[in-house]
Amino acid sequence: MEALVKKRILQVLKGDQDAYGEIVELYKDKVYQISYRMLGNRHEAEDIAQEAFIRAFINIHSFNIDLKFSTWLFRIATNLCIDRIRKKKPDYYLDAEVAGTDGLNMYSQIPSKTDMPEKEIESLELEETIQSEILKLPEKYRTVIVLKYIEELSLIEISKILNLPIGTVKTRIHRGREALRKQLRHV
């Protein structure tokens, strides 16, 4: 896959935008997933994921073709997410968590039209709980946990994406795990 991506990048460098479309197709789910788990909101996640691809396109000439493209792309995406978390504007979205309600969002105010099977509701609730617990982590732990356990990347790769020494990445994963353990212990 890396070889194909490199071929497409060379085409993009020559100015061929269609080739970039294929790159977007290949990585859109992963980039969107990182953004969603980091930000906890589909609207914002889509916005940031799109932004990441656009930034990557604009700066593609500065990408070192000998490196892994996904590492570079994920770095752009995580940096954008971190920026967004740090200067989080008081935007209001329906699926944003309502303060003080412990995981409820505005959608929960809208009555559901379909009767969902009990099990499905349970698993949805569990997933929401996990997601909201991830979102409660400080952003530096959240990033490593998302990259490690949702994107399933290696420590070396995470250290490259975040431009941090591997020791720091390890420490953050350990602390992130401990924090999550305390939050999820009674689930």
């Binding site: 859109k28 799109q50 656009i54």
Partner: protein, 207 residues
């Protein structure tokens, strides 16, 4: 929980799959005797399992097209190249036509010298070729960059490029030319003449 922190470190090393065999043995032995550490370890593993259990989500539909729409405009040159790549026949045809027309136009510009097909019965005065009265020219006559005066008879086709045929007006009555008469003075005529000639030659070769 009064165990030394080192066991927690071992747990994390284990979860990172970076524990040494020695330390792993130490951890396992400790977990057997320490309920607190054992539940701690179980909770950590459960946490990871829970996080990993979250379903993989997919980007919204139309995500790619939304990104593509927001990209800065590409260079026109590339769009053109891609169009050519997608229409190879049109590209080949237009390339052929361009080269063809180009070479013919060059030929038109370069051929400014006076010339005429050789024939013993023709008289040449300055830039005028004369078919003398009472004489018959057998074969085609092609005059380039000069005029042709037909006073006698021509048994064949007459072509004048960049010049006039003076005898033409008598033609209808006198019938001095048995073949076709053609006067070429425009670039387009020149091209047309060449196309016809090439076609004719090709047909002749085929025959």
């Amino acid at each position: 929980m009064n165990c030394p922190d080192i066991y927690t470190d071992y747990m994390h090393d284990y979860l990172d799959e970076e524990i040494t065999p020695d330390n792993e043995t130490k951890l396992r032995e400790h977990l057997l005797i320490c309920a607190d550490c054992q539940s701690h370890f179980q909770e950590l593993k459960k946490t990871i399992a829970l996080v990993q259990s979250t379903s993989h989500i997919q980007a919204p539909v139309n995500f790619t097209s939304a990104v593509m729409a927001r990209l800065p405009n590409e260079k026109k040159q590339v769009g053109l190249k891609r169009w050519f790549r997608r229409h190879p026949m049109v590209t080949a045809a237009s390339l052929f036509l361009t080269l063809m027309v180009g070479s013919l136009i060059t030929g038109w510009n370069e051929d400014q010298e006076f010339s005429v097909s050789k024939n013993p019965n023709l008289i040449i005065e300055n830039n005028t070729v004369i078919v003398p009265e009472g004489k018959t020219v057998n074969g085609d006559i092609v005059v380039k960059n000069g005029d042709l005066k037909i006073e006698g008879q021509v048994d064949g086709n007459v072509t004048v490029i960049n010049g006039d045929i003076n005898g033409e007006k008598y033609l209808a009555s006198a019938g001095q030319v048995t073949g076709e008469i053609e006067e070429i003075n425009q670039l387009f005529d020149w091209l047309w003449y060449h196309m016809k000639k090439i076609t004719k030659d090709t047909v002749n070769i085929v025959k």
